[in-house]
């Protein structure tokens, strides 16, 4: 479980772009998901992120998140049914229950729960996509420009984690050979057995940390100003991803500030499409991000694109 990264090389466009541009793209999706509560706007962003997941070949990684957001949607419907009694379109009225009284399940509560479920799914997918397309080394190399100590701690830790996980398995096996049975005993005994494990692994790893520090010092770490080497050229694709993200977020903030994206769920669902120009905005916001998805598709299917972008 801890021996391989979630990242997997799949030769997708987003994996071959500048990490800062990809971060910006994902941050824009995340921000817009939290900015809007209007179903149409969320739907536009949702379509974009699903397409981005598919063209990045990250679908299997994202599947578990789907079930999680379904649970959230159900939970929100329950919470809203229990505590918000202002929904006017009652679908089902329960018999009188002890403590709770009569419960009304309203269309408003169900719609709200469903839309928030979609919102939660967008947020989850933005993180899942980040996990699938950004290699931790790349992002740390970007951050090491302005925060090299923190980036160093992070990359050291990322590097060591699989090794420590293997050590832990080894120690566990050694203990099992000597008769410690981790699966048996009451809670207290089991906790004690695992605690020994923790102590052993802590002491052995700490000894290792001093060796790392000495090795770094021997290679002149911290002896003077730091030099660095930038490995990521900025290519047209990074520019397109960046521009598309900035354009989309600008449109989103404008639409929100002008009040086009306001939507009421209670006491009665608002109309989805009021007047014509207001309806165009969600489409425009999603359309601005479409070039990223198209490029991702082209990266797979039109090999001649690769050399151009």
């Amino acid at each position: 479980m801890l021996e391989t990264l979630c990242y997997e090389e799949k030769d997708a466009l987003l994996q071959n772009s500048h990490p800062a541009a990809v971060m910006l793209f994902l941050a824009v999706l995340f921000f817009q998901a939290l900015l809007f509560a209007h179903p149409l706007y969320l739907m536009g962003i949702f379509i974009i992120i699903i397409l981005a997941v598919v063209v990045s070949g990250a679908y299997e990684k994202c599947e578990p998140y789907l079930a999680m957001s379904l649970w959230v949607a159900v939970l929100l419907v329950i919470v809203n049914t229990l505590f918000v009694h202002t929904g006017q379109t009652v679908i089902w009225r329960s018999p009188v229950l002890p403590v709770l009284g009569r419960l009304d399940i309203s269309l408003e509560a169900i719609c709200y729960g469903a839309v928030m479920g979609v919102r939660f799914l967008i947020v989850l997918l933005a993180f899942a996509l980040y996990n699938a397309v950004v290699h931790p080394d790349k992002i740390m190399s970007v951050f090491s420009r302005f925060a090299f100590k923190s980036a160093l701690v992070l990359s050291l830790s990322t590097r060591m984690l699989p090794a420590v996980a293997r050590d832990l398995t080894n120690v566990m096996e050694v203990q099992q050979m000597r008769g410690v049975q981790f699966g048996t005993g009451n809670l207290r005994e089991r906790l004690r057995k695992y605690s020994w494990l923790l102590e052993v692994i802590l002491i052995s790893s700490l000894e290792g940390s001093l060796q790392i520090a000495e090795a770094m010092q021997a290679r002149a770490f911290g002896s003077g100003p730091r030099s660095r080497y930038q490995r990521f050229p900025v290519r047209p694709r990074d520019g397109i991803i960046g521009l598309a993200s900035i354009l989309s977020v600008t449109l989103a903030v404008y639409a929100k500030a002008r009040g086009f994206a306001d939507y009421v769920y209670y006491p009665q669902l608002g109309t989805l499409a009021g007047n014509f120009p207001a309806l165009v905005w969600p489409g425009l916001i999603a359309l601005a991000l479409l070039p990223v998805v198209l490029m991702g598709w082209g990266w797979r299917h039109c090999l001649s694109w690769r050399s151009k972008i």
């Binding site: 479980m1 801890l2 391989t4 990264l5 979630c6 990242y7 939290l34 900015l35 578990p64 959230v72 939970l75 929100l76 919470v79 809203n80 505590f83 709200y112 928030m116 919102r119 939660f120 947020v123 989850l124 993180f127 899942a128 996990n131 931790p136 925060a147 100590k149 923190s150 160093l152 701690v153 992070l154 050291l156 830790s157 990322t158 060591m160 984690l161 699989p162 420590v164 996980a165 832990l168 809670l187 906790l191 004690r192 695992y194 605690s195 494990l197 923790l198 102590e199 692994i201 802590l202 790893s205 700490l206 940390s209 001093l210 790392i212 770094m216 010092q217 770490f221 911290g222 209670y266």
Partner: protein, 240 residues
Amino acid sequence: MPASQNNIPVRLLLFLSLAIAMIALLLWKYRTLLIQDWGLTATLLIVLALLFLYLGFERSAVSVREIGVIAVLATVAAVARVPFAVIPGVQPTTFLVIVSGFVFGPRAGFMVGATAALVSNLFLGQGPWTPFQMLVWGLVGVSAGFLGLLAPRTGRIGMSIFSLVWGYLFGWLMNLWFWACFVQPLTWQTFLATYAASFIFDTLHASGNIALYMILGPQVVKVLKRFQRKLVFTITPTNP
């Protein structure tokens, strides 16, 4: 480390008042917008808080050995998330972050907590919980660090109470964002409902913390203190 942390209480006060002033200012400036968009505001505040905490680490004079030890403690705290998952509620990461902060100070405590959250999620899966775990575990480390500075002789009982409190606070702080972003309307009833839903898990976490500290706490603190002494030794050149 000790030289740069002499005037901790003054800095702490300064930092706290700055943070409060900043939040108050933001709230006042955007008061109409905020009422609709608590979720976004909460997210923004978390990102800002994390940035400032990292900035503090960046600006400190930290040695190679400290970086190594912080990275290793964070790694062990991250790895420990998996094997202990078989015992419900036991979260050794919180325990390790508390003892690291207690021994190595607030700055190291923050780094251990935040790094453990971020790095373990690189393997277990990132999600919107990542920044939150980073911040909350980071705060666990910071507070344990201040406890270590202000009351270095805190014994087994005191530390157990401290772990208990963080067991609950951890879940409560994690709930806050979910409630602000996805639950509407933001009333006392929905607040209490969200918190009631997580109460059992928080209780398990808190009792797991106490059990771990009771079993392992004093030994681990001793081990870490020994390493701390190793960290600060300096080689004095022999006289010619």
